[in-house]
């Protein structure tokens, strides 16, 4: 299964620049030569106060309050680098709920 970066596009995340993040993340992934990752918009992860939110699936990493300057670290992670711990701030009950949804094919 191809890997996916889901970038939330609901009101709060969008108002904090998630559209720009979507474009830049796709460009950086391409520039890095990563072929098996697709960047996709997602309707809402329910963590609006913590936006913009990006979830990597199927590996289940959730990055919150992502800024353009964080994207290089996320791309590094996708290329096999370390998990970006400073962006991993979401409550585990919400994570579980969303991961279960994604597991059933909701994306």
């Amino acid at each position: 299964m191809a890997r996916i970066c889901l970038v939330c596009q609901n009101i709060d995340c969008k108002s904090r620049g998630s559209e720009r993040l979507t474009t830049e993340l796709a460009q950086k992934i391409a520039a890095k030569g990563i072929k098996d990752v697709e960047v996709k918009p997602y309707m809402c992860f329910g963590a609006c106060q913590e936006g913009p939110n990006i979830v990597l699936y199927p590996e289940k990493s959730w990055y919150a309050k992502v800024q353009p300057q964080d994207l290089d670290d996320i791309v590094e992670h996708l290329a096999g680098g370390p998990h970006v711990q400073r962006l991993d701030t979401i409550d585990s009950s919400l994570k579980d709920l969303i991961y279960q949804l994604l597991d059933t094919g909701v994306f």
Partner: protein
Amino acid sequence: MEGVLFPHGVPEGREELKDYRARGGYQALEKSLKGSPDELIKIVSDAGLRGRGGAGFATGKKWQFTREAPEQPRYLVLNGGEDEPGSKKDRVLLENLPHLVLEGTILGAYAIGASKAYLYINARYDDALKSIQDALAEAEAAGYYGSNVLGSGFDLEIEIVPAPHNYVAGEDTAAIEVIEGKKAWPRQKPPFPVTVGLFGKPTSVNNVETLANVPPIVLKGADWYRRFGTAESAGTMLFSLNDDVNRPGVYELPFGTPLRYLIEECGGGMKGGQKIKAIMPAAPSSAFLPPEKIDTPLDHNSMREAGSALGCGVVKLVAEGTCIVEELIKIADFFATESCGQCPACRMETSSLAMMLKKVQAGQGGMPMLEQFGKIIAFNKGKGFCNLIAMPGPPIESAIKLFPGDFQAHLTTGKCPVN
């Protein structure tokens, strides 16, 4: 059958002041102004009047809380922001019986000690707005509101505010926001409007039908009113039936009347003689009932015991041969669109549910997805400012329980079991 609001059947055309007076109109106001507001609140409490906007809160209690709130001035809001799909009871009252509604509003204002009342009416209800405007002119000329109403010393200003036509605009705190000149966004409660409402002052927001019940209660007494309905749901209620029955319309029935009477005797049964697959007693947000529950009495307690709700009386029928998944998509899309968007949990829930149902419809996701509906609903419970977040749950969860086959067929074969 004798009624409270429609004593002579469903009215046709606007009732003018002279006709309203000929049947005792504004006598309740004359009578009440000679007594104290506390006496008026007591009659309404003794009658057991409950709000008809959906929540069923005791009207006398709401008025008492507002009256007892220390801040001044106080306000009364007539809530005619009716925008539930299929609901037309408030429109019928506003269009045809504007003086009954107006007298109820003036009485409510007197009860809580308000010097100003706002008539908040769906902006798309052109005829209702016109009817109320004409009635206001007649009532003002007759001295039923304005300064020193009927020589009593009670002063009351009344203003019409058109309500935006979106679902949440009918929520009481959203109505208050609109009257204040803001967007129709519900406020976080508490504080409740009875203590901190319009312009931060004590406010009673009452549904059109609720206030229309007040003049007959005052005129004929609490005991007379309690002859209708049940002990916990006194009086009558207006029910809206739509195109799924042979005779759509608004029907007044005493609480406790079997659902079957409404559907068969009033509505003439399902259109085209179709068989009923499911009944939604409070569309679009109540649980579905199976057809075996057609004899459930139409009152708050009985509906709750049957697993559903009475809401504001929009009864929707689903015909045999209809796919419940397709029906739910319409409902879920409605709530996803009507969510005002200010509460993150509501946005996530309503948009996720709508998307998940479309996945089911398309046969994507498999059976484990069905378990996710309840999880999403439970996770978001109570996380919104208003009740919209709780609305898609009952239809979806009841449908999964009652019609698992419809879901299974979509998920396992990717095809609709019906179409």
